[in-house]
């Protein structure tokens, strides 16, 4: 497969020149091609924000829903047709702020979807306010004295909830990010990939250079199945580790837990109402249950 299969051709892209979204777009297409996922069998689900526009630059099935609400439809799409590859992708404000409750409960539900979060620690589309992941002291037109809210730590939260796959990547590192994304997409249950992504317009603090100085990769000595160790890594104060923090392959997915596919593997759209069974159920109201 050729990565061009996902290209939209000549289109106007709404991102700023130099935006960290561009490499993520390119890397994701490459990862999908290497996994041989067909555009017709893929659904990209997003919310609202600059990162959430990514499905429009992708030739595939798209559900671009509401701000913060990518995860519930992504869960449902996978649940009614588990044969589809479903990726829910948006920014940090969308996934961790507006959609925070869905983030928590989607992890608990464990649908077989990949959750890619472009984390630039700032609100881009609304022009430069703090995001849930903005660092302490970050000044904005709204947070005029600097951010004093504890930054949201998505990895620590996900690990605390026993998410089945938790990773972090950096948009400035194409090869490693592609490998992490491939693992996440191939993973059976819910997979979180938080991707550090510089915002060249509104975040003059967390630049490409700043990220390079504040990240390091987990090495082979890290045990991805050790939840305590993963949590420790997730809350390290100085530098941000990258790579796969935690994997739990023992959890059943949402689609496996619900009854409907246990005897019948067909997606719901292929099925018909069993009218005789309905007749039987109605009959029970004669003698009454």
């Amino acid at each position: 497969m050729d990565a061009k299969i996902f290209d939209m051709g000549e289109i106007d892209i709404a991102w700023c020149p130099g935006c960290g979204n561009f490499p993520i777009l390119k890397i994701l297409k490459q990862a999908l091609v290497e996994l041989e996922i067909e555009p017709t069998n893929l659904v990209l689900v997003s919310g609202i924000g600059q990162a959430a526009k990514i499905p429009h630059y992708f030739k595939t099935n798209v559900f671009n829903g509401l701000h913060g609400r990518a995860l519930p439809p992504a869960t449902a799409i996978k649940a009614v047709n588990p044969g589809l590859t479903v990726i829910a992708e948006s920014g940090d404000g969308d996934m961790y702020g507006e959609g925070g409750n869905h983030f928590l409960h989607t992890i608990r539900r464990n649908p077989g979807i990949t959750n890619i979060v472009h984390n630039n620690m700032v609100y881009g589309l609304t022009k430069g306010q703090a995001s849930p992941t903005s660092q302490i002291g970050f000044k904005t037109p709204v947070q005029v004295n600097g951010v004093f809210l504890e930054p949201f730590n998505p990895l620590a939260v996900a690990i605390a909830l026993n998410a089945s796959f938790v990773a972090r990547a950096f948009a400035g590192d194409a090869e490693q990010t592609k490998q992490i994304l491939k693992k996440a997409i191939a993973h059976k249950g819910y997979a979180l990939v938080d991707v550090f992504q510089p915002c060249v317009t509104f975040n003059k603090l967390n630049t490409y250079q700043w990220f390079k100085e504040h990240i390091y990769y987990l090495d082979d000595s890290h045990d991805q199945h050790d939840r305590n160790e993963a949590f420790k890594k997730a809350i390290e104060p100085e530098k941000f580790p990258l790579g796969v923090f935690y994997v739990n392959t023992e959890k059943a997915t949402f689609e496996e837990n619900i009854d409907v596919f246990k005897r019948d593997k067909r997606p719901l759209y292929e099925r018909e109402l069993d009218i005789e069974r309905l007749r039987t159920l109605i009959e029970t109201f004669k003698s009454s249950n």
Partner: protein, 578 residues
């Protein structure tokens, strides 16, 4: 007052059970209604209850009749009072004819037995003798069954079946309780304290006994519903519970979402991928779904919303009833997009309309509401049957070609609905204004075409509207208008009024209104509207759609359903003497 009570002349008896939450009134209601139906009586039951798990005062009304009964009456012929608060709770409904069956010791010191037709029945004493006072509710079941001379085998076999999942000794104790109660009941008969003579009809055994909530649930299954995502909220939860219980036999996914926002967005996602999805909620929960409703409007996604109304604003009266969310569902959602609002009046309507809601949603790719309320959902009565011959699951779904465009501009505004993975095309939907492919656009000329495309569907929808049901003569002088759950009560009230020239017009589709609505209203010299809300929301909607003002309003908004007598009285007040 006389201790000898006879209600022999009645062929329609209202029994009210009243006690505190936790005293097993539900069990009594369930057992008695089923046993009476087995015995060949027409039955109707409804309840009103407080928002608490224990204590307070709750009541259930059971009507037994030789004729079909389907509405709440204020009158109480027999009151079974299980505690001291019970008589106080229904005091306003007790008449000199009301017989109170209760245990003197349970009614407290300030109960003045001489003021009532009171019969001391040792429910608790009998239960305690059997082993535990918790059986007193089943003793009461036996007492009533005995007083009505229902065959003892019929009673014991149903009680045995009802408790069959319980431990052997529990079944045994309940059987002892019901038998002991039965003897108390026949004893009452023997001393001619109560005489009851309602003719029985064996054919009723073969009828269906369904609540409004069960009818909505069955209708959803018949509509091909295979995905329900919701957050529990009274009074709509019963539908979620029903679908969770029976859904697995129909390949239905029932998911309790983290909140109503998720529930709505899941349901829309489910339709996108080819499921037929519904949410069930009440006004407060629906308030959280409104953002998602607007999304459905923009995506042109089908969605079925069951909304069981209760009084608001805010938490309001959580377990009570009202018809005050019509304007909410009519105007909910930012932006302009078509919708359909259905409001069942009969139990049968709930089945057929909910079934139809799925086909309408799929055909027009719009939100379809099924608007009920606590009274409707919690009431039940026997109906002859449900006809499945007309049940068709219309998918309105296409296999996509490579060049598929989700929002292809068509003459009627309906673009063929593809789903991902079915066909060679791609399905793109976007909450932003979009082009024909579904991708984000800021082409403002295209914007106009897309708005027009979405809105023009309303004409097709109106042309297919469910007509209002006229009951009574065509050449009426007075027309009484109602909608949704008030149908049966207003129907019975109009029958009881027995006045010439009065007809009833009931709407089970309240938006868009059927094209003949104005014709019906124009023919009347006098219009009266009956609604369970404070501002006549349906009256306002009629005025908006037809320009006609209905000045005579019978409104109720204390949280309780209209009774037949109340509607008769208030109608009489609006009609000229005669």
């Amino acid at each position: 007052m006389s201790k000898v009570s006879s209600i022999a002349s009645k062929d329609d008896i209202s029994i009210v059970l009243c006690g505190q939450a936790g005293q097993g009134i539900q069990t009594v209601e369930h057992l008695l209604t089923r046993i009476f139906k087995l015995a060949g009586y027409n039955v109707f039951a409804t309840k009103e209850y407080m928002s608490r798990v224990r204590g307070g005062a709750n009541s259930t009304e059971i009507r037994l009749s030789a004729q079909k009964v389907s509405a709440f009456v204020g009158r109480i012929d027999i009151l079974i009072a299980l505690n001291a608060g019970a008589v106080r709770h229904v005091e306003g409904r007790i008449s000199p004819e009301t017989i109170i069956l209760a245990e003197r010791a349970e009614l407290g010191g300030d109960f003045d037995a001489d003021r009532y037709r009171f019969i001391d029945v040792p429910f608790t004493e009998t239960a305690s003798r059997i082993g535990n006072k918790i059986y007193s509710n089943v003793v009461a079941v036996g007492t009533i069954a005995g007083a009505f001379k229902i065959e003892p085998e019929m009673v014991t076999s149903y009680v045995k079946r009802f408790f069959s999942a319980k431990a052997e000794d529990v079944v045994q104790k309940n059987l002892e309780a019901v038998n002991a109660g039965y003897e108390l009941g026949t004893g009452l008969l023997g001393s001619s304290e109560i005489k009851i003579d309602i003719s029985r009809n064996g054919g009723i055994q073969e009828e269906l006994l369904l609540s409004g909530a069960e009818a909505v649930g069955l209708g959803a299954i018949a509509g091909g519903c295979n995905f329900v995502s919701s957050y529990p909220m009274s009074p709509s939860t019963a539908v979620l519970v029903f679908l969770a219980k029976h859904g697995k036999d129909f390949g239905l996914i029932a998911e309790q979402a983290e909140d109503e926002i998720a529930a709505m967005n899941m349901a829309i996602g489910a339709w996108y991928a080819g499921a037929r999805a519904m949410v069930t909620t009440s006004g407060g929960g629906f308030a959280l779904m409104i953002e998602g409703l607007s999304l459905a409007g923009m995506l042109e996604s089908p969605i079925v919303i069951h909304l069981g109304q209760r009084p608001g604003p805010a938490t309001g009266l959580p377990t009570r009833t009202e018809q005050a969310d019509l304007e909410l569902v009519l105007y909910a959602g930012h932006g302009e997009f078509p919708r359909i609002i259905l409001a069942p009046g009969k139990i049968e309507d709930a089945f057929y309309l909910t079934q139809k809601a799925f086909n309408l949603a799929a055909k027009y790719q719009v939100p379809v509401f099924v608007l009920t309320d606590q009274y409707f959902l919690d009431s039940y009565y026997n109906i002859a049957s449900l006809d499945l011959s007309g049940v068709r699951v219309e998918k309105h779904m296409v296999e996509t070609r490579k060049d598929y465009k989700r929002y292809e501009l068509t003459d009627d505004g309906i673009s063929p609905r593809g789903i991902p993975g079915f066909g060679k095309g791609l399905v793109v939907v976007d909450s932003d204004e979009h082009d024909t492919e579904g991708h984000i656009t800021e082409d403002l000329d295209l914007r106009i075409r897309m708005v027009d495309k979405r809105l023009k569907k309303i004409d097709l929808i109106r042309a297919e509207a469910v007509p209002p049901e006229l009951r009574g003569p065509e050449n009426y002088k007075t027309l009484i208008v109602c909608w949704g759950s008030t149908y049966n009560v207003v129907k019975e009230a109009v029958t009881n009024l027995a006045r010439d020239g009065i007809s009833l017009l009931h709407f089970k589709q309240v938006y868009p209104l059927h094209e003949r609505t104005a014709d019906y209203l124009n023919k009347a010299e006098r219009l009266i509207i009956v609604e369970s809300n404070a501002t006549s929301q349906f009256g306002k909607l009629i005025k908006l759609q037809t320009g006609m003002d209905i000045e005579n309003k019978i409104l109720k908004y204390n949280g309780l359903a209209f009774s037949v007598e109340e509607v008769v009285e208030r109608l009489s007040g609006l009609l000229p003497a005669g």
